[in-house]
């Protein structure tokens, strides 16, 4: 029988959740393995996103944030520390491709975004669905990046972009949130032995 541990992060009220959701504790090894998978998924999504950006006429600074799907799931399923690690991996990747500064910007956005997911998932689970959390995390991701870029460039003028980033954060945040809803079953398959999430 599954022991009912009260785990740190609970999945917000969704159809997949049992009225009293709880997850079995995984072994650290298992978690690390899943985290590795999630990191790979994040990078893959990030790559796809880059190609998407090149193909579509998007204004500068606006990102679909596809990798956020994996990051959010990791934060909720695996916990904040692992999510942060994944953020670092992604930032490292960005650093290799685009340089140190780009990496710093990526980390800023990612950390802020993940923190918000963690906080919201814990405290606002009854009120917000994945979509809402995703919107907030996307907006904060953009602002984290914008602030870091402003500091690095040395000019507050960058904040002129704020309205655009707010709107794109809302739009793409909603999109990724709905994406997460859609792919959740597939993702949950990666974390088996979580019988609570099947059926209902």
């Amino acid at each position: 029988m599954l022991s009912l541990h009260h785990s740190e992060f609970r999945i917000p009220n969704s159809e997949f959740a049992h009225p009293k959701p709880s997850r079995p504790r995984y072994s650290p090894a298992k978690k690390a393995a899943v985290a590795g998978l999630m990191a790979a998924l994040t990078l893959a999504l990030s790559f796809v996103e880059r190609m998407l950006c090149a193909a579509l006429p998007l204004p500068p600074g606006v990102r679909p944030g596809l990798s956020n799907v994996a990051v959010m799931f990791s934060c909720i399923a695996l916990g904040l520390p692992f999510a942060l690690a994944i953020i670092l991996v992604k930032a490292g990747f960005v650093m290799l491709v685009s340089g140190v500064y780009a990496g710093i910007i990526s980390v800023s956005g990612g950390v802020l975004s993940v923190l918000s997911v963690a906080l919201l998932a814990r405290f606002a689970e009854k009120k917000l669905s994945f979509t809402g959390i995703s919107v907030v995390s996307a907006v904060l991701h953009n602002f984290g990046q914008l602030t870091a870029a402003s500091l690095l460039v040395g000019s507050a003028l960058y904040l002129w972009m704020a309205p655009v980033l707010l709107i794109s954060g809302v739009v793409f945040g909603a999109v990724t949130g709905m994406l997460l809803n859609a792919v959740l079953p597939a993702l949950l398959k990666i974390v088996p032995k979580v019988e609570n999430f099947e059926g209902k």
Partner: protein, 125 residues
């Protein structure tokens, strides 16, 4: 398994609030119908170009080696020695509120809707 878009009341409120905030910021920013490109390097404004007054395209090379391409109603990064080339890949900025930056070179180009500050309202000639 059925997929449902689980939009809650709070979600909708949140989205409305954020969009309204964006609207407020846009209105705050003001709608001038001039088009000025403000180029800053390390926080210091080095160029203010009235893009509406540009009659023929030209290239502007900054002290840090970054080259900007200025054309009537638009400006873009055309060369930079940075790694990621995010700035160059941004393309041409043509509307107020757009911005592009080369972070390694600390160069930022922002388009505003206000006429270049310090420029006279008119020149008597």
């Amino acid at each position: 398994m059925t997929e449902r878009l689980k939009l809650k009341k709070a979600d909708v409120l949140l989205i409305c609030f954020l969009l309204a905030a964006a609207l407020a910021l846009l209105l705050l920013r003001g709608g001038g119908d001039a088009l000025t490109a403000e180029v800053t390097v390390a926080g210091e404004t080095v160029e203010r170009i009235d893009l509406k007054a540009v009659t023929s395209p030209y290239d502007l090379t900054l002290e840090n080696g970054v080259r900007l391409h200025v054309e009537p109603g638009g400006i873009s990064f055309c060369y930079s020695d940075c790694r990621g080339q995010d700035c160059v890949r941004c393309g041409v900025l043509t509307r107020a509120g757009q911005a592009a930056a080369c972070v390694p070179n600390k160069t930022l180009v922002v388009l505003t809707g206000k006429p270049p500050k310090g420029a006279p309202d008119a020149i008597s000639s």
